[in-house]
Amino acid sequence: MDSDLIVQILFAAIKTGTPLLFIALGELICEKSGVLNLGQEGMMLMGAVVGFLAAYGTGSAGLGVLAAMLMGCLMSLIFAALVLHLGANQVATGLALTIFGTGLSAFVGSGVVGQTIQGFQPIAIPLLSDIPFIGKILFTHDILVYSSFAITFALLYVVNKTRIGLTLKAVGENPHAANAIGIKVLRVRYLSVMFGGVMAGMAGAYMSLVYTPMWVENMTAGRGWIALALVVFASWRVGRIMLGAYLFGLASIMHLVLQGLGWSISPNLLAMLPYVATVIVMVIISADQFKEKLLAPRSLGKPFDPRQMA
């Protein structure tokens, strides 16, 4: 393989990993606060279709992204209301959100299937993009990829260095104790779930405005679920999510790599690769039960009712 192809593959891995990065970062924050939202796939699809519709209607991809973020947020609010206020089972509610989002997105998007729009164009960052090898891989992307870099670094700081990060960890570990010292547990969880929704919306917008750019039913193809595995893979750490997202991106474009090596394998079998990779990664990561219990937010998936006597 020549170096041009390697650059091309790594460039594509970042591009393919970006929606995973968005959605996994959102889910990470959500899970840090102790809420498991399995509705990522549904929120992402709604983000994708609404982003596409808005961009299609207004001609502005930027407005498309904003609309997608708003939509993701609205979807997450349905989830938050059921889970946080009515104490509904988080697993069932998340599944409902995914089924709902899958159906609703297909429903509202049925009119624009196959239409194309002008998505975001790549912007080569002056100077940085001239760095040999790395410049092409990292600095010739579009604005959404750059914002994913920015969000990752911002979260690295917020989660690890600020009081917000401390509060988030405290709520995720022990909501009753957090409540007892006066942290508004439900408010923290609401905001975390909403952040997850906004990020899922962005991930969807990236799919329909940059990656393809068009709207097809079920176009996210399980990325919302892979992102959930990615959070476990990353042991609930921001930096590792970025690494993991790009690795999964690489797994999804394996056909490029294999072409480069001159192999030929059925595309349908290759299409399984990201899912098989996810299973393998989960097996390896989870096998160490002790470590996983240590790293996972301890109240993850458990409801918290402030009215109960602790």
């Binding site: 570990e173 022990n174 409540n179 002790f290």
Partner: protein
């Protein structure tokens, strides 16, 4: 102590709080002077915890006023309480194990407080020296012992220059020696003018350090007294009412043949922040109660889990029942051989909250009720009725859900269910924790009757008084080590207390080393 010319630090006027199905606080009025150490006494469920949570802003009262330093205040949240100068040390600590000591303390402080303090870690070190608390700001909480965690909670209040410190059963998790240390800190604070509200149900402690005591029963104030002028017996009477039937001393027995043995059991912790078991050996004889004292979190849960088989790791020869190895057997198979258990957690482990008592009978007692894999529900129902009658379980009937029973009644039911299987060995953890006096008496008598039938009983408890009352032989656990086992008559609270603090660990190892 003439304080009439001073303004009360805190006055509660007619505080009332209703929970569904339970009037937790009924028209409670209390007042506290600066520097006063005030005991809040009462049985479990008397409303003590609800009341102090009201003062700390965690619970909002339905009715009543709170007057702080002479003016009426509304404490809507813990942060308002903290701004007033109220600090609280919770019974189940409100610390975050994955954070450091100073991060835990930081979370309780507002931005302005933080700025005023400047360097938080330095302040912690300084206060730590001043009050002899020995708290290191950089350690992670999960690496701290229970006593150390409590000091962190107290530190959390001191950092905010506290004027009223509330402690919810602070001594129940401490060794007798640690209690003495805590009391020194409280006396120092009191001299500096800090009021202290001290919840307890241990009467000798109250008479030792409290200036005043308020006694709650069924959510109401029944008495206010000066503890130094009372005896523990007279206070006990105020707490439980007239029907105070005290446990008399019971005759001690000597076990006969060896039934159950734990041999050199060592096991790494399975859960993060759990305790690993270190070379534990003991023998349980037919017709005796072996009491194990210890502060919670010193390996009791782990020991119980490995004996019952809930911890599924294979420890084949480390556990023997009647000379047969059982450490490799599944939990269900161990039950079939005659093991039974009463767990600490009644609801959610000992009984399924959402299932009826009939179903909860079947939970562990299936012998004779299963025919070819099918459940004989009518027979179980009849048997459950007899259990309810025999152990005087107060409930609406065998269809009542387990969660609708009070703690004491559920415990009587669980105890009856386990004893009804005629176990050879009963492992019993904290049997009367949170149970009213009447139920505790019934439970004690059931245990003694089972012992007298020839069963071997392992009694794990944090309540030293109870162990001295019931156990024929005693030991203590500390950090996963088991102390030597001695006859109850030949030891005393002081020795067991020291063992709970781990004084036996080194000498014990030397002894073992010399032997081998």
């Amino acid at each position: 102590m003439k304080r009439s010319n001073l303004v009360s630090r805190l006055e509660l006027v007619s505080i009332t709080k209703q929970y569904p199905g339970c009037l937790a606080n009924d028209d409670i009025s209390i007042s506290l002077m600066p520097g006063e150490i005030h005991a809040l006494l009462g049985e479990n469920g008397a409303g003590k915890s609800t009341l102090v949570k009201t003062i700390y802003g965690v619970v909002s009262p339905d009715k009543g006023d709170i007057i702080w330093d002479g003016r009426e205040v509304s404490i809507k949240s813990p942060s308002i309480a903290r701004d007033l100068g109220i600090g609280m040390v919770f019974q189940h600590f409100s610390l975050f194990e994955t954070l450091t000591v100073s991060q835990n303390i930081e979370l309780c402080l507002s931005k302005t407080q933080l700025n005023a303090i400047g360097n938080l870690a330095e302040r912690i070190v300084q206060l730590s020296k001043e009050y002899g608390l020995n708290v290191n700001p950089d350690r992670y909480v999960h690496s701290l012992s229970i006593g150390e965690r409590q000091r962190v909670e107290i530190m959390r209040c001191l950092v905010q220059s506290v004027k009223l410190l509330i402690l919810d059963e602070p001594t129940s998790v401490l060794t007798p020696q640690e209690v003495a240390g805590l009391f020194d800190v409280l006396r120092t604070l009191s001299k500096e003018g800090c009021s202290i509200l001290f919840i307890s149900h241990k009467l000798h402690e109250v008479t030792e350090i409290c200036h005043k005591a308020t006694i709650l029963r069924g959510g109401r104030v029944v008495e206010t007294c000066v503890p130094q002028e009372e005896t523990p017996a007279s206070i006990a009477k105020m707490m439980v009412g007239d029907l105070a039937e005290q446990d008399a001393g019971y005759a001690k027995k000597i076990g006969t043949k060896s039934l159950f043995n734990v041999n050199c059991l060592s096991l790494p912790a399975k859960q993060p922040f759990g305790t690993s078991l270190k070379d534990i050996s003991f023998e349980l004889k037919s017709g005796e109660i072996l009491g194990v004292a210890g502060v919670a979190g010193n390996g009791q849960d782990e020991l119980m889990a490995i004996i019952s088989g809930e911890d599924e790791r294979d420890v084949k020869n480390s556990l023997t029942l009647e000379d047969k190895a059982i450490g490799h057997l599944h939990a269900g198979d161990r039950r079939k051989l005659g093991m039974a258990y009463v767990p600490e957690e009644r609801l959610g482990r000992g009984a399924v909250p959402d299932m009826s008592l009939t179903e909860n009978t079947l939970l562990t007692h299936s012998d004779g009720f299963i025919k070819k894999g099918l459940v004989d529900w009518p027979s179980i129902q009849k048997y459950t009725e007899t259990l309810i009658a025999k152990y005087k379980v107060k409930c609406h009937g065998e269809f009542s859900e387990a969660k609708s029973l009070s703690g004491g009644n559920l415990q009587k039911f669980i105890m009856g269910r386990e004893i009804g299987q005629n176990p050879k060995v009963l492992i019993c953890a904290h049997p009367t924790w949170g149970v009213d006096v009447g139920a505790a008496l019934a439970i004690h008598q059931a245990l003694l009757a089972l012992r007298d039938q020839g069963a071997a009983i392992l009694l794990i408890s944090e309540d030293i008084d109870e162990l001295f009352l019931l156990a024929d032989r005693m030991a203590a656990v500390c950090d996963g080590h088991l102390s030597p086992v001695v006859k109850t008559e030949s030891t005393n609270i002081d020795q067991i207390g020291q063992w709970m603090a781990g004084t036996f660990i080194n000498s014990n190892n030397d002894f073992k080393g010399a032997k081998s």
